[in-house]
């Protein structure tokens, strides 16, 4: 492969890296106090350009850099989701940051760097690439969490996220070193071959420990129970656009990374990781459903909702196989749209003086004061609850279908039960909006960008979304087929130690 072909295959990453560093110069030397608007606009264009670059070799070039980087349909699908979610997170922010007095041009740039890191994550075919991508996106996220530095809650969120994130990185690195030590390689393919080769009991045990630690480290990033403790505090404390970003793109990236890791690298050890994933899926759906009931802050509630949703996606992952992987992708796609829409509505909830309202009580009477906003919120809530005929029902159906196909009907049954618990608090919000009296007075300021995005996302998850199913199914099946092998991995001769050449 020539140099130019390689550059084309990593086109989205090159566009983001070069664009973000150049924008950094622009924001550093600009004297214009409104520079954040220009930079946000250019950043959104860069993300769209990176998405357009996915049409080229970036979606089918195959293995690059000795198998460390995968440019396949699976990563391209995830990258498209990540770039679009990041673009929405950038577009919704300037007005908010201006009101907070923190309108620095670094906000869109840090999101660009985070998107770059996530794009590396979903393409990773090597444990080192995985770690570097994860760390790039996490480091940007820590800074973004405490971006409103005059706000103590925001600083607290950043610090908590940083300390716990460092702990998770430590767990992950420990697991990586164990896996490398006991399989002799950091490349996913070679790890799969080594795991498929029977070894002595001690080595098997070492590999198992490696798998457990790596899964624990990544479970922290997707905020699956029992590694979810940071989520409510960080989501509540971080500025709202940042929270919307956290709940969307990084979740997709970490979920897709986890999927590729367990299917590609740990495929032969399915028995080992499946029980871990099943446990996390059950714990996340149950805790996400039950703990959300008592919440009074809407951002906290959405944090528990995201834990709950990750649990459902993990149900699909536990099913593995083509149907399972495709259902994870479908679930994450619809989840991203629903969650971004909900946060866009939350950002529109501002009092008469323009102060941000975050308590659930402030939603009362929204149906009378702002009927359009209430209708959109109702669509998102019904969709998140998975009420039939709203689009959120479809991914849940696919996930449960995949679980039943993989002989995990009991798992699907338990997940459906917890879904009913979760429906309680989603419907409670609808009830507060439509039947309760006396909410605070809301600002009448017009925000065309946010309103347009809310309308767009609400339409996408309304029953109209079913029109997109054929396209979604083709795309996700093709993406899943690019990582799921048709047959079981054949055990090969014992590997010699990789010499680095």
């Amino acid at each position: 492969m020539t140099f130019w072909e390689t550059i084309q295959a990593i086109g989205p990453e090159v566009i983001l890296a070069v664009g973000a560093t150049d924008l950094l110069l622009l924001t550093a030397f600009s004297k214009n106090p409104n520079v954040i608007r220009t930079i946000s606009l250019i950043s959104v264009l860069l993300l769209l350009a990176a998405s357009a670059a996915l049409l080229g070799p970036a979606s089918h070039a195959g293995n690059l850099f000795h198998g460390q980087f995968r440019a396949d349909a699976f990563s391209a699908f995830a990258k498209l989701l990540i770039f679009l979610a990041s673009a929405v997170a950038i577009a919704m922010a300037p007005g908010f940051l201006k009101r907070e007095g923190e309108a620095h041009g670094e906000y869109p740039i840090l999101i660009l760097f985070a998107a770059l890191g996530m794009s590396v994550m979903v393409s990773a075919g090597d444990l080192m690439m995985l770690y570097v991508g994860l760390e790039l996106s996490s480091l940007s996220a820590y800074v973004l969490a405490s971006f409103a530095r005059r706000n103590t809650r925001s600083s607290e969120a950043g610090l908590k996220y940083f300390v716990l994130g460092a702990l998770a990185s430590g767990l992950l690195l420990y697991g990586i070193s164990l896996l490398y030590g006991f399989t002799g390689s950091t490349v996913f393919e070679d790890i799969a071959i080594a795991l498929a080769t029977p070894a002595s009991e001690g080595i098997e045990l070492g590999r198992l420990f490696g798998i457990v630690f790596v899964l624990a480290g990544i479970a922290f990033k997707v905020s699956a129970v029992p590694f979810h403790m940071w989520t409510p505090d960080v989501y509540q404390g971080a500025p709202t656009p940042v929270t919307a970003f956290f709940a969307s793109a990084p979740k997709v990236a970490a979920m897709v990374l986890l999927t590729r890791l367990v299917i590609d690298a740990m495929g032969p050890a399915t028995d080992a990781w499946r029980q871990i994933i099943i446990f996390m899926a059950l714990a996340s759906t149950i805790l996400g459903g039950v703990a959300a009931i008592g919440q009074r802050n809407i951002k906290r509630l959405l944090a528990y909702s995201s834990i709950n949703n990750v649990g459902f996606a993990l149900v699909g992952l536990a099913a593995a196989g083509l149907a399972g992987v495709a259902s994870v992708l479908i679930y994450m796609t619809v989840y991203v749209v629903m969650t971004l829409g909900s946060f866009l509505v939350v950002m529109r909830l501002r009092g008469a003086d323009g102060e941000q309202l975050e308590s659930i009580d402030s939603l009362s009477g929204l149906a009378r004061s702002r009927p359009g906003l209430a209708l959109a919120m109702m669509t998102f809530m019904f969709s998140l609850a998975g009420i039939p005929f709203f689009f959120g029902f479809y991914p849940k159906l696919m996930v449960f279908d995949a679980a039943v196909q993989a002989d995990l009907a009991w798992l699907a049954a338990v997940a459906i039960a917890t879904s009913v618990i979760g429906a309680f608090y989603y419907i409670k919000i609808v009830k507060i909006m439509y039947f309760d009296e006396g909410g605070p007075e809301l600002t009448t300021e017009k925000e065309p960008v946010a309103s347009g995005l809310i309308a767009l996302t609400a339409l996408a998850v309304s029953p109209l979304g079913y029109l997109a199913i054929p396209y979604l199914e083709t795309a996700t099946t093709e993406a899943a087929a690019s990582i799921v092998q048709s047959g079981p991995v054949v055990p090969a001769a014992p590997q010699t130690l990789a010499s680095g050449h």
Partner: protein, 202 residues
């Protein structure tokens, strides 16, 4: 044979200076002992044929110690005048120490030429390729993507630190170089002729 002797020399000195690092009463002395420990550890690396790690240890750690030194000076209020006062009393041991370090470097190079110690099996290095060359080959070809991405991580860390701490302060009076240069005696000097018994009125 010479390698084994050199190994014991370095190992003893590493341990001894490490002990002195934590036992020294004066923080500045601690730092100096730490540097000695690093130099000897670098010698141990040289002995096993890992010359790249040895250089890295000297360049990075001894460099980092310089920064540490700065912090010690800034934070612990060490009286340097007092330290320097007895400088002439110490010239002999200090010169001895410096001579010892020089001697060690020469010995290490001789021992390295003699072929290094054979230790337990490690990752094979290709024939006739030095460590540094092998590292460079791996980093800049096979692992170039990871390497560049790591560079971007460092950039993000730097940007993050600046975003979170940099703020425009009101009420400061920065130096205005243009104004200083354009100032001339006519603006700055006034001739006064005070009468007898009167003060100057400004």
């Amino acid at each position: 044979m010479i390698q084994v002797a050199v190994f014991y020399l370095f190992a003893t000195l590493v341990i001894a200076s490490a002990v002195m690092t934590i036992c020294a009463r004066n923080p500045v002395h601690s730092v100096l002992w730490l540097i000695l420990a690093f130099f000897n550890a670098a010698g141990l690396f040289l002995l096993i044929g890992a010359e790249f790690l040895a250089f890295l240890l000297v360049i990075v750690y001894v460099g980092a110690v310089a920064v540490l030194f700065l912090f010690v000076v800034m934070m612990l209020n060490v009286d340097f005048a007092e330290l320097r006062a007895g400088f002439s009393n110490y010239w002999f041991p200090v010169t001895l120490l410096a001579g010892l370090l020089l001697f060690e470097i020469i010995v290490a190079l001789v021992a390295w030429d003699a072929g290094g110690i054979t230790i337990a099996p490690r990752a094979p290095t290709p024939e006739n390729v030095s460590n540094i060359e092998a590292m460079g080959q791996a980093i800049f070809t096979r692992y170039i993507f990871v390497f560049e991405a790591a560079g971007i991580i460092l950039l993000v860390a730097m940007v993050g630190a600046i975003v979170l701490t940099h703020r425009k302060r009101g009420g400061v009076r920065p130096q205005n170089i243009r104004k200083q240069i354009r100032r001339n005696p006519k603006d700055a000097v006034v001739n006064m002729q005070p009468g007898v018994g009167q003060g100057v009125e400004l």
